[in-house]
């Protein structure tokens, strides 16, 4: 393995790879001569203070100890870590995008136009009749969607018996948590031997108490739920609603739409499907699409159009708000820009290349992939090895490893999603990394990683003796 090495400047003033801000400087400041009387002020604050050059060195050094998509492939299954086009950042930095949320609508027409158009774009892409952009992340979108389902049943006088949400056991943890936050009991649906929803099991699970079924399609194994029309019929006949978890929409762009499959509510993960940067954990955005009859329950406000003007309005039976204002505006602006750039041809090609890349990578990797035919991601089995160790060893090859040990239906799972943005040559190199690690013994991989800023981190110590701030560091 050929490695590029260049020494880095390390501040060795204290231990660790880069001292904490507090170790570089801590100053206690107690203001005098404030406008407020003493009883309304605190005694002072103790915070770090760095000059601009020092600040730049600190954060630059930290960035060098962080892996991003621009560093190399990031095939983290279910997370769709694809290239984030740079031009969208320039739009987000425009002074004209800096708008207070309480401006009169007339004075924020540009922003409202972008909301209006993006509501429209997402509706077309998902096959949905109305869209809200307010939820600030996918999980917030799930909660919003479930609250809409709840409002729908309440409106129909059926809230009382319908107190259950059905979730497949291989679903994202957020599905369970979001439904529980909305007050629902969870009915867990085991998969059939093929890794899909078992229609008989589903038929037995639905009934008068079913509020909704939450489904990811393709599911977390990358498999398309072929029986989706039957699934929709079973749920609808029982009086429930069908919710689409949009985490895997990248696989279907331009080839199938949740609305056409019978889904009533869906969320979009814009950092997954529409390439907005994930920023080390967020901000995301989790717009919700609904079919016609549910539009009246959407959060307020919605953006509409009256004549020549974009306006805000409250849907008549709105569930209210799920974010203090209008969601993560800059993320939505980047989403609009990405969709505008790609258009029909680009979006449709995205799913083609995403699915081609996953299939090609799987064909070059020597691991067993128990469930097929997968689409944009595959779940390989590390078999006799520990998948977490397998992943740690991959770090030594300069790549970010797949999602590990999930979904549990695959033994020692390596859930791998290369996305459309990797070239054939990159995939070949990625496959070689998988295969090299596969050839190593468990004794070697359990010691990994070795070529990273930090060696294997003691998770047990972190959890048994929580140290959550520099104030709590004693050693």
């Amino acid at each position: 393995m050929q490695q590029h090495r260049q020494a880095k400047w390390n501040d060795t003033a204290s231990e660790g790879h880069e001292p904490l801000l507090s170790e570089k400087d801590t100053t206690r400041y107690e203001p005098t001569d404030t406008h407020l009387p003493d009883e309304l002020t605190r005694e002072g604050v103790e915070l770090p203070s760095l000059s601009e050059p020092e600040l730049v060195r600190h954060y630059t050094r930290l960035s060098q100890m962080n892996y991003g998509i621009d560093s190399g492939p990031y095939p983290l299954g279910s997370c769709t870590m694809k290239y984030n086009p740079k031009f969208t950042e320039d739009l987000a930095a425009l002074p004209s995008a800096t708008v207070h949320p309480d401006r009169p609508s007339k004075s924020a027409q540009g922003t409202l136009q972008i909301y209006y158009e993006l509501q429209d774009y997402l509706g077309r892409i998902g096959g949905m009749d109305a869209v809200t952009l307010q939820p600030p992340a996918g999980a917030a979108g799930e909660l919003t969607g479930i609250l809409i389902a709840k409002a729908f049943h309440e409106y129909n006088g059926e809230a009382d018996p319908r107190d259950e949400i059905i979730v497949p056991s291989s679903a994202h943890g957020t599905n369970f948590a979001s439904a529980a936050m909305a007050g629902y009991d969870i009915v867990e649906l085991p998969a059939d031997d093929d890794g899909r929803v078992d229609l008989d099991v589903l038929s037995a699970a639905v009934g008068d108490s079913t509020a909704a079924l939450m489904l990811t399609n393709p599911n977390t194994l990358g498999l398309f739920e072929r029986d989706i029309e039957d699934i929709a019929e079973i749920v609808h006949d029982a009086g429930g609603l069908l919710y689409y978890d949009g985490a895997n929409l990248n696989a279907l762009l331009g080839r199938a739409r949740p609305g056409d499959m019978g889904f009533d509510i869906m969320h979009y993960n814009v950092h997954k499907t529409f390439a907005t940067p994930h920023g080390g954990g967020g901000p995301g955005a989790g717009p919700i699409g609904v079919r016609d009859g549910l539009a009246k329950f959407l959060p307020s406000p919605q953006v509409g159009e009256e004549g020549e003007e974009y306006t805000l309005f409250d849907p008549e039976e709105s569930i209210g708000k799920v974010h203090g204002s209008m969601g993560n505006w800059l993320v939505l602006l980047k989403t609009h820009a990405y969709i505008s750039r790609l258009g029909d041809t680009g979006l449709t090609d995205t799913s083609a290349k995403a699915v081609l890349n996953a299939n090609y990578l799987a064909s070059q990797v020597n691991l067993d992939v128990p469930f097929e035919p997968f689409h944009h991601e595959f779940v390989a089995s590390a078999a006799k090895k520990d998948a977490a160790d397998f992943a740690k060893k991959m770090l030594d090859y300069g790549v970010h490893p797949p999602t590990t040990k999930w979904p549990e239906i695959v033994d020692e799972a390596l859930m791998t999603e290369p996305t459309e943005a990797e070239s054939r040559k990159t995939l070949d190199q990625l496959a070689a990394a998988f295969n090299s690690v596969d050839d190593e013994g468990e004794d070697v991989i359990s010691e990994a990683p070795n070529a990273t800023a930090a060696k294997r981190i003691d998770q047990t110590k972190a959890a048994r003796e929580p140290v959550l701030s520099w104030q709590q560091i004693s050693d």
């Binding site: 962080n66 991003g68 004075s107 943890g173 994930h278």
Partner: protein, 458 residues
């Protein structure tokens, strides 16, 4: 409509990257052929296991565009936002964000990374978040802080559900002051929709919570009391010490809403008995971007295992070095599922990075001096507005932070609309009340603003 969906591409340079499909997929025709051969397919369509009956054969009707064309169009669309000077606040504030914040936060190792599931290659961002938690902990006076919520409103919602789980009292009422913004209250209602909690409103006088009123509202039913400092009307609460002891006597919990600038100067919530502090951290690091922000969540150590969202902790690696990692993850949805402390997954990590850079750039003196300025500016502007015929300001006889309410002897909506005509935006609160917010970012326009206000009132 000001603009059609069709894009005029004629002025833009031709961008051949669109001809291949996605401009961000690197494959050429030969790549596709070789890859199809490897998987044993002749056409990509064969790889899609989608029944014909649900295949989508239509088009979205969205035309692909060159980068230049998209930039030009969205520039133009955003340009239709009026170029007004905002004197707007009410929970969303503008402070000058130094240029270094953009430059550092846009380093691609930061902005193009995912959540730190592999800590060994994420030490940089984990340290950033650890430092953010430490800053929030210091400013709130709380033992622990998480590494962000979406915004102040959802953080308040999470505070209520935490109170429900830790249950130091039997009750189920969340008491909120009448000045709480309706938007935040709406979010709170939705976050508590699945629980037995109910929201009850606490009347205030002169814009602040009165201890005697609070006492009369505090009974066994009250689980959580929420107050803001400063309030959404800019009032600085004057009885927090008493409020803290009253709430603690009753074994209810006290949640304080604030922001990181105000917290550097105003009374320390950790000192007057707050159990939970929520609020807005985006006052540092983000300008007013249509309400996109970052929420604070900090609380007492006792509630550690009930905290929502992600936590970063310090540990050691196998070489014995200090390292950082996401920790106590069994609280979270990906492990605890329906019994998780929250459904939150993605949060506002990148904004936390920006906030930490901005806070450290200012330092304790710069931050406190900024806060002090936020108490002087509204006093000055209110006094000048009060000189105008038919205007009375501030409405509340109190100290203010950044903003204050203004009574006008004219229809408030007309005043707002006339002011927009003059190039200024203020809040309309009711028929005869406005709200005005002033910070260092609009300070240079104060004289013009006062002059326009005077003209509008004549």
């Amino acid at each position: 409509m000001q603009d059609s969906l069709e894009i005029d591409d004629s002025q833009a340079t031709r961008d051949r990257s669109n001809d291949r499909g996605s401009p961000f997929a690197p494959h050429d025709e030969e790549d596709v052929r070789l890859m199809l051969d490897a998987v044993g397919a002749t056409d990509v369509e064969e790889l899609f296991d989608i029944p014909d009956s649900v295949r989508f054969d239509g088009e979205f009707g969205i035309e692909a565009s060159s980068e230049q064309a998209v930039m030009q169009r969205l520039h133009r669309v955003l340009g239709t936002n009026d170029d007004v000077t905002e004197f707007l606040g009410r929970g969303h504030y503008s402070h000058y964000v130094p240029s270094v914040v953009d430059h550092l936060s846009l380093r691609s190792e930061f902005i193009t990374s995912y959540t730190q599931y592999q800590p060994e290659v994420s030490q940089g961002f984990l340290q950033v978040l650890f430092e953010f938690q430490s800053l929030v902990s210091e400013l709130t006076g709380m033992d622990v802080a998480n590494c962000s919520m979406y915004d102040a409103a959802t953080a308040l919602g999470e505070a209520a559900t935490l109170a429900d789980r830790v249950r130091e009292a039997d009750g189920s009422v969340v008491l909120v002051p009448d000045y709480l913004r309706s938007e935040r209250r709406d979010v709170l209602e939705n976050y508590t929709d699945g629980s037995d909690l109910s929201i009850r409103e606490l009347p205030t006088e002169g814009g602040m919570v009165r201890p005697e009123t609070l006492r009369s509202y505090l009974d066994d039913d009250v689980l959580l009391v929420y107050v803001e400092n400063p309030t959404s009307e800019g009032v600085i609460e004057e009885h927090l010490t008493e409020i803290g002891s009253i709430v603690n006597e009753e074994s209810s919990l006290l949640c304080v809403g604030s922001d990181l600038v105000a917290l550097s100067l105003l009374q320390n919530p950790g000192q007057f008995g707050a159990d939970i502090v929520v609020g807005n951290a985006g006052v540092l690091g983000l300008p007013n971007v249509y309400g996109m922000s970052i929420g604070i969540f900090a609380c007492r150590d006792d509630f550690l295992r009930q905290i929502p969202g992600r936590l970063v902790g310090a540990s050691r690696d196998s070489a014995g070095d200090r390292t950082y990692t996401l920790t106590l993850q069994t609280r979270e949805q990906h492990i605890r599922r329906e019994r998780a402390t929250s459904n939150i997954c993605s949060n506002q990590a990148w904004v936390a990075l920006r906030t930490a850079i901005h806070a450290t750039y200012l330092g304790p003196d710069g931050l406190t001096e900024l806060a002090d300025r936020c108490t002087r500016l509204p006093a000055r502007v209110a006094a000048e507005l009060d000189e105008i015929n038919g205007v009375s300001a501030p409405v509340n006889d109190a100290y203010h932070f950044r903003e204050f309410t203004v009574a006008v002897e004219r229809d408030a909506s007309e005043v707002v609309s006339d002011l927009v005509g003059e190039g200024f935006a203020v809040h309309e609160r009711d028929d005869q009340t406005l709200q005005v917010c002033v910070t260092e970012t609009n300070e240079h326009r104060i004289d013009d603003f006062i002059e326009s206000f005077r003209e509008v009132m004549e």
